[in-house]
Protein backbone atom coordinates (compact mmCIF):
# COMPACT_ATOMS: atom_id res chain seq x y z
CA UNK A 1 0.00 0.00 0.00
CA UNK A 2 1.16 3.53 -0.76
CA UNK A 3 2.62 5.70 1.99
CA UNK A 4 0.04 8.08 3.42
CA UNK A 5 2.41 11.07 3.31
CA UNK A 6 1.64 13.68 0.62
CA UNK A 7 4.21 14.63 -2.00
CA UNK A 8 6.69 17.25 -0.67
CA UNK A 9 5.02 20.22 -2.39
CA UNK A 10 1.65 19.57 -0.71
CA UNK A 11 0.67 20.21 2.90
CA UNK A 12 -1.94 17.46 3.03
CA UNK A 13 -3.21 14.54 0.96
CA UNK A 14 -6.50 16.39 0.57
CA UNK A 15 -4.69 19.35 -1.02
CA UNK A 16 -2.80 16.95 -3.30
CA UNK A 17 -6.04 15.30 -4.43
CA UNK A 18 -7.73 18.66 -5.06
CA UNK A 19 -4.74 19.93 -7.06
CA UNK A 20 -4.70 16.79 -9.22
CA UNK A 21 -8.43 17.23 -9.93
CA UNK A 22 -7.94 20.87 -10.87
CA UNK A 23 -5.21 19.80 -13.28
CA UNK A 24 -7.62 17.39 -14.97
CA UNK A 25 -10.32 20.10 -15.11
CA UNK A 26 -7.81 22.42 -16.83
CA UNK A 27 -7.12 19.66 -19.37
CA UNK A 28 -10.85 19.12 -19.84
CA UNK A 29 -11.25 22.88 -20.53
CA UNK A 30 -8.86 22.50 -23.48
CA UNK A 31 -10.79 19.45 -24.65
CA UNK A 32 -14.08 21.37 -24.45
CA UNK A 33 -12.62 23.95 -26.84
CA UNK A 34 -11.20 21.25 -29.15
CA UNK A 35 -14.43 19.27 -29.56
CA UNK A 36 -16.50 22.47 -29.26
CA UNK A 37 -14.77 23.92 -32.31
CA UNK A 38 -15.41 20.69 -34.24
CA UNK A 39 -19.11 20.79 -33.38
CA UNK A 40 -19.32 24.49 -34.27
CA UNK A 41 -17.87 23.70 -37.70
CA UNK A 42 -20.51 21.01 -38.06
CA UNK A 43 -23.28 23.46 -37.13
CA UNK A 44 -22.13 26.03 -39.70
CA UNK A 45 -22.16 23.45 -42.49
CA UNK A 46 -25.39 21.85 -41.29
CA UNK A 47 -27.21 25.18 -41.46
CA UNK A 48 -25.62 26.01 -44.82
CA UNK A 49 -26.21 22.62 -46.45
CA UNK A 50 -29.36 21.58 -44.55
CA UNK A 51 -30.82 19.17 -47.11
CA UNK A 52 -27.51 17.59 -48.15
CA UNK A 53 -26.58 16.91 -44.52
CA UNK A 54 -30.01 15.39 -43.96
CA UNK A 55 -29.50 13.04 -46.91
CA UNK A 56 -25.98 12.08 -45.81
CA UNK A 57 -26.91 11.49 -42.16
CA UNK A 58 -29.66 9.09 -43.22
CA UNK A 59 -26.88 6.57 -43.99
CA UNK A 60 -25.42 6.74 -40.47
CA UNK A 61 -26.16 3.74 -38.26
CA UNK A 62 -28.35 4.92 -35.42
CA UNK A 63 -28.62 1.46 -33.82
CA UNK A 64 -24.84 1.19 -33.43
CA UNK A 65 -24.63 4.79 -32.24
CA UNK A 66 -27.38 4.19 -29.65
CA UNK A 67 -25.80 0.97 -28.37
CA UNK A 68 -22.51 2.79 -28.01
CA UNK A 69 -24.09 5.66 -26.10
CA UNK A 70 -25.77 3.18 -23.74
CA UNK A 71 -22.42 1.43 -23.25
CA UNK A 72 -20.62 4.69 -22.41
CA UNK A 73 -23.38 5.98 -20.11
CA UNK A 74 -23.28 2.66 -18.25
CA UNK A 75 -19.48 2.81 -18.08
CA UNK A 76 -19.71 6.23 -16.42
CA UNK A 77 -21.91 4.60 -13.77
CA UNK A 78 -19.47 1.73 -13.21
CA UNK A 79 -16.56 4.20 -13.06
CA UNK A 80 -18.18 6.37 -10.39
CA UNK A 81 -19.11 3.23 -8.41
CA UNK A 82 -15.47 2.11 -8.64
CA UNK A 83 -14.35 5.47 -7.21
CA UNK A 84 -17.02 5.24 -4.52
CA UNK A 85 -15.91 1.81 -3.38
CA UNK A 86 -12.22 2.77 -3.70
CA UNK A 87 -12.74 5.70 -1.37
CA UNK A 88 -14.51 3.38 1.05
CA UNK A 89 -11.65 0.89 1.00
CA UNK A 90 -13.65 -1.91 -0.70
CA UNK A 91 -10.76 -3.06 -2.87
CA UNK A 92 -12.49 -6.10 -4.37
CA UNK A 93 -15.39 -4.03 -5.63
CA UNK A 94 -13.02 -1.31 -6.82
CA UNK A 95 -11.19 -3.80 -9.03
CA UNK A 96 -14.46 -5.35 -10.26
CA UNK A 97 -16.01 -2.03 -11.28
CA UNK A 98 -12.80 -0.81 -12.92
CA UNK A 99 -12.68 -4.00 -14.99
CA UNK A 100 -16.37 -3.57 -15.85
CA UNK A 101 -15.63 -0.02 -17.02
CA UNK A 102 -12.74 -1.18 -19.20
CA UNK A 103 -14.91 -4.01 -20.59
CA UNK A 104 -17.70 -1.59 -21.53
CA UNK A 105 -15.09 0.65 -23.18
CA UNK A 106 -13.79 -2.32 -25.18
CA UNK A 107 -17.37 -3.16 -26.20
CA UNK A 108 -17.69 0.44 -27.43
CA UNK A 109 -14.56 0.00 -29.56
CA UNK A 110 -15.92 -3.30 -30.91
CA UNK A 111 -19.24 -1.77 -31.96
CA UNK A 112 -17.46 1.27 -33.39
CA UNK A 113 -15.09 -0.94 -35.37
CA UNK A 114 -18.04 -2.92 -36.75
CA UNK A 115 -19.76 0.37 -37.64
CA UNK A 116 -16.64 1.64 -39.43
CA UNK A 117 -16.52 -1.54 -41.53
CA UNK A 118 -20.20 -1.12 -42.41
CA UNK A 119 -19.58 2.55 -43.25
CA UNK A 120 -16.77 1.53 -45.59
CA UNK A 121 -18.86 -1.16 -47.26
CA UNK A 122 -21.74 1.27 -47.81
CA UNK A 123 -19.44 3.79 -49.50
CA UNK A 124 -19.32 6.42 -46.77
CA UNK A 125 -15.58 7.10 -46.63
CA UNK A 126 -14.65 10.36 -48.40
CA UNK A 127 -11.63 10.16 -50.72
CA UNK A 128 -11.36 6.39 -50.28
CA UNK A 129 -14.71 4.80 -50.99
CA UNK A 130 -17.48 7.36 -51.32
CA UNK A 131 -20.65 6.55 -53.19
CA UNK A 132 -22.57 9.52 -54.57
CA UNK A 133 -26.20 8.44 -54.59
CA UNK A 134 -28.88 10.24 -56.57
CA UNK A 135 -29.52 13.74 -55.15
CA UNK A 136 -26.09 13.69 -53.52
CA UNK A 137 -23.85 16.70 -54.04
CA UNK A 138 -20.42 17.59 -52.68
CA UNK A 139 -21.64 18.72 -49.19
CA UNK A 140 -22.72 15.15 -48.36
CA UNK A 141 -19.01 14.36 -48.24
CA UNK A 142 -18.56 17.20 -45.73
CA UNK A 143 -20.93 15.43 -43.34
CA UNK A 144 -18.92 12.24 -43.54
CA UNK A 145 -15.62 14.09 -43.16
CA UNK A 146 -17.01 15.51 -39.90
CA UNK A 147 -18.15 12.02 -38.92
CA UNK A 148 -14.74 10.39 -39.46
CA UNK A 149 -12.69 13.16 -37.87
CA UNK A 150 -14.90 13.63 -34.80
CA UNK A 151 -15.60 9.94 -34.09
CA UNK A 152 -11.96 9.11 -34.88
CA UNK A 153 -10.67 11.56 -32.27
CA UNK A 154 -13.30 10.37 -29.81
CA UNK A 155 -12.35 6.71 -30.37
CA UNK A 156 -8.73 7.67 -29.71
CA UNK A 157 -9.81 9.23 -26.40
CA UNK A 158 -11.77 6.09 -25.45
CA UNK A 159 -8.73 3.94 -26.24
CA UNK A 160 -6.51 6.07 -23.99
CA UNK A 161 -9.21 5.92 -21.29
CA UNK A 162 -9.38 2.11 -21.42
CA UNK A 163 -5.60 1.97 -20.98
CA UNK A 164 -5.78 4.28 -17.95
CA UNK A 165 -8.65 2.35 -16.37
CA UNK A 166 -6.84 -0.97 -16.86
CA UNK A 167 -3.72 0.55 -15.30
CA UNK A 168 -5.82 1.63 -12.31
CA UNK A 169 -7.32 -1.88 -12.08
CA UNK A 170 -3.81 -3.35 -11.96
CA UNK A 171 -2.73 -0.84 -9.31
CA UNK A 172 -5.90 -1.50 -7.32
CA UNK A 173 -5.19 -5.23 -7.55
CA UNK A 174 -1.78 -4.41 -6.03
CA UNK A 175 -3.67 -2.52 -3.29
CA UNK A 176 -2.23 0.87 -4.14
CA UNK A 177 -5.39 2.77 -3.20
CA UNK A 178 -6.97 3.36 0.18
CA UNK A 179 -9.53 5.70 1.80
CA UNK A 180 -6.61 8.10 2.29
CA UNK A 181 -5.17 7.85 -1.22
CA UNK A 182 -7.51 7.69 -4.20
CA UNK A 183 -6.49 10.74 -6.25
CA UNK A 184 -5.73 8.80 -9.49
CA UNK A 185 -9.21 7.25 -9.36
CA UNK A 186 -10.85 10.69 -9.21
CA UNK A 187 -8.67 12.11 -11.99
CA UNK A 188 -9.22 9.23 -14.44
CA UNK A 189 -12.92 9.21 -13.50
CA UNK A 190 -13.19 12.85 -14.59
CA UNK A 191 -11.50 12.04 -17.90
CA UNK A 192 -13.73 9.01 -18.52
CA UNK A 193 -16.95 10.89 -17.83
CA UNK A 194 -15.85 13.76 -20.06
CA UNK A 195 -15.19 11.33 -22.94
CA UNK A 196 -18.74 10.06 -22.33
CA UNK A 197 -20.02 13.67 -22.55
CA UNK A 198 -18.31 14.18 -25.91
CA UNK A 199 -20.11 11.14 -27.34
CA UNK A 200 -23.47 12.47 -26.15
CA UNK A 201 -22.97 15.56 -28.35
CA UNK A 202 -21.52 13.61 -31.29
CA UNK A 203 -24.55 11.31 -31.15
CA UNK A 204 -26.87 14.33 -31.31
CA UNK A 205 -24.93 15.74 -34.27
CA UNK A 206 -24.68 12.56 -36.33
CA UNK A 207 -27.36 9.95 -35.79
CA UNK A 208 -30.88 11.40 -35.30
CA UNK A 209 -30.64 13.52 -38.45
CA UNK A 210 -32.50 12.64 -41.64
CA UNK A 211 -34.74 9.81 -40.44
CA UNK A 212 -38.17 11.43 -40.08
CA UNK A 213 -40.58 10.86 -42.95
CA UNK A 214 -41.54 14.34 -44.15
Amino acid sequence: MRSLAPEPQFATLEQQTETAQLGMWAFIATEVMFFGALIFTYMIYRVTYWEQFRLAAHDSQILNGSINEALLLTSSLTMILAINYGKAGRNDRLVAFLLATAFLGLCFLGVKGWEYVEDYNSGSVPSMNFLFKSDYHAPTELFWIFYWISTGFHTLHVTVGIGLVMLLAWQAHRRKFSPNYFSPLEVVGLYWSFVDTVWVFLFAAIYPLGRAVT
Binding site: E18, M79, S178, F203, Y207, P208, T214
Partner: protein
Amino acid sequence: MSVGKPEPIAPYVIGWAVMMLLLGLSVLSAYLDIGIFHPVVNFGIAATQAAIIFIIFMRLRGRPSLKWVFAAAGFFWLMFLYGISTVDYATRSGFPSQ
Protein backbone atom coordinates in the same frame (compact mmCIF):
# COMPACT_ATOMS: atom_id res chain seq x y z
CA MET B 1 -6.88 -1.42 4.01
CA SER B 2 -9.51 -0.05 6.32
CA VAL B 3 -13.04 -0.58 5.09
CA GLY B 4 -15.57 2.25 5.38
CA LYS B 5 -19.08 2.91 4.25
CA PRO B 6 -19.38 4.03 0.61
CA GLU B 7 -21.51 7.02 -0.39
CA PRO B 8 -25.13 6.18 -1.30
CA ILE B 9 -25.26 4.99 -4.90
CA ALA B 10 -28.88 6.05 -5.50
CA PRO B 11 -28.02 9.48 -7.07
CA TYR B 12 -25.72 7.77 -9.57
CA VAL B 13 -28.19 5.04 -10.48
CA ILE B 14 -31.02 7.57 -10.86
CA GLY B 15 -28.77 9.85 -12.96
CA TRP B 16 -27.85 6.91 -15.19
CA ALA B 17 -31.51 5.88 -15.58
CA VAL B 18 -32.54 9.43 -16.54
CA MET B 19 -29.74 9.59 -19.12
CA MET B 20 -30.82 6.25 -20.63
CA LEU B 21 -34.38 7.57 -20.81
CA LEU B 22 -33.12 10.70 -22.56
CA LEU B 23 -31.20 8.48 -25.02
CA GLY B 24 -34.48 6.72 -25.81
CA LEU B 25 -36.21 10.08 -26.30
CA SER B 26 -33.42 11.22 -28.61
CA VAL B 27 -33.78 8.10 -30.78
CA LEU B 28 -37.58 8.46 -30.79
CA SER B 29 -37.37 12.14 -31.79
CA ALA B 30 -35.26 11.15 -34.80
CA TYR B 31 -38.32 9.51 -36.37
CA LEU B 32 -40.73 12.37 -35.61
CA ASP B 33 -41.38 15.04 -38.21
CA ILE B 34 -40.50 18.12 -36.19
CA GLY B 35 -38.71 19.92 -39.02
CA ILE B 36 -36.22 22.57 -38.02
CA PHE B 37 -36.71 21.77 -34.33
CA HIS B 38 -34.71 18.54 -34.71
CA PRO B 39 -31.36 20.10 -33.83
CA VAL B 40 -32.94 22.02 -30.93
CA VAL B 41 -34.44 18.84 -29.47
CA ASN B 42 -31.37 16.67 -30.09
CA PHE B 43 -28.82 19.14 -28.73
CA GLY B 44 -31.20 20.07 -25.89
CA ILE B 45 -31.31 16.41 -24.82
CA ALA B 46 -27.51 16.18 -25.20
CA ALA B 47 -27.01 19.30 -23.06
CA THR B 48 -29.29 17.85 -20.36
CA GLN B 49 -27.34 14.58 -20.37
CA ALA B 50 -24.06 16.52 -20.22
CA ALA B 51 -25.34 18.54 -17.24
CA ILE B 52 -26.20 15.30 -15.41
CA ILE B 53 -22.74 13.91 -16.12
CA PHE B 54 -20.97 17.09 -15.02
CA ILE B 55 -23.03 17.64 -11.86
CA ILE B 56 -23.45 14.06 -10.64
CA PHE B 57 -20.77 11.89 -12.24
CA MET B 58 -18.01 14.51 -12.29
CA ARG B 59 -19.01 15.67 -8.82
CA LEU B 60 -19.61 19.36 -9.41
CA ARG B 61 -22.52 19.30 -6.97
CA GLY B 62 -21.98 20.40 -3.41
CA ARG B 63 -20.43 23.52 -1.99
CA PRO B 64 -18.80 26.07 -4.33
CA SER B 65 -15.16 25.30 -5.01
CA LEU B 66 -12.31 26.27 -7.28
CA LYS B 67 -13.11 23.37 -9.62
CA TRP B 68 -16.32 25.19 -10.61
CA VAL B 69 -14.13 27.98 -12.01
CA PHE B 70 -11.93 25.48 -13.89
CA ALA B 71 -14.98 23.63 -15.22
CA ALA B 72 -16.62 26.88 -16.39
CA ALA B 73 -13.44 28.25 -18.00
CA GLY B 74 -13.60 25.98 -21.04
CA PHE B 75 -17.23 26.85 -21.73
CA PHE B 76 -16.52 30.55 -21.12
CA TRP B 77 -13.87 30.64 -23.83
CA LEU B 78 -15.97 28.41 -26.06
CA MET B 79 -18.71 31.06 -25.94
CA PHE B 80 -16.19 33.61 -27.26
CA LEU B 81 -15.28 31.23 -30.07
CA TYR B 82 -18.93 30.57 -30.92
CA GLY B 83 -19.96 34.21 -30.62
CA ILE B 84 -17.23 35.74 -32.75
CA SER B 85 -17.36 32.94 -35.34
CA THR B 86 -21.15 33.25 -35.59
CA VAL B 87 -20.88 36.99 -36.22
CA ASP B 88 -18.31 36.26 -38.93
CA TYR B 89 -20.49 33.75 -40.76
CA ALA B 90 -23.69 35.78 -40.27
CA THR B 91 -22.17 38.89 -41.84
CA ARG B 92 -20.04 37.26 -44.54
CA SER B 93 -21.31 37.69 -48.08
CA GLY B 94 -20.77 35.09 -50.76
CA PHE B 95 -20.67 32.06 -48.46
CA PRO B 96 -21.45 29.18 -50.81
CA SER B 97 -24.95 27.82 -50.72
CA GLN B 98 -26.24 24.56 -52.17
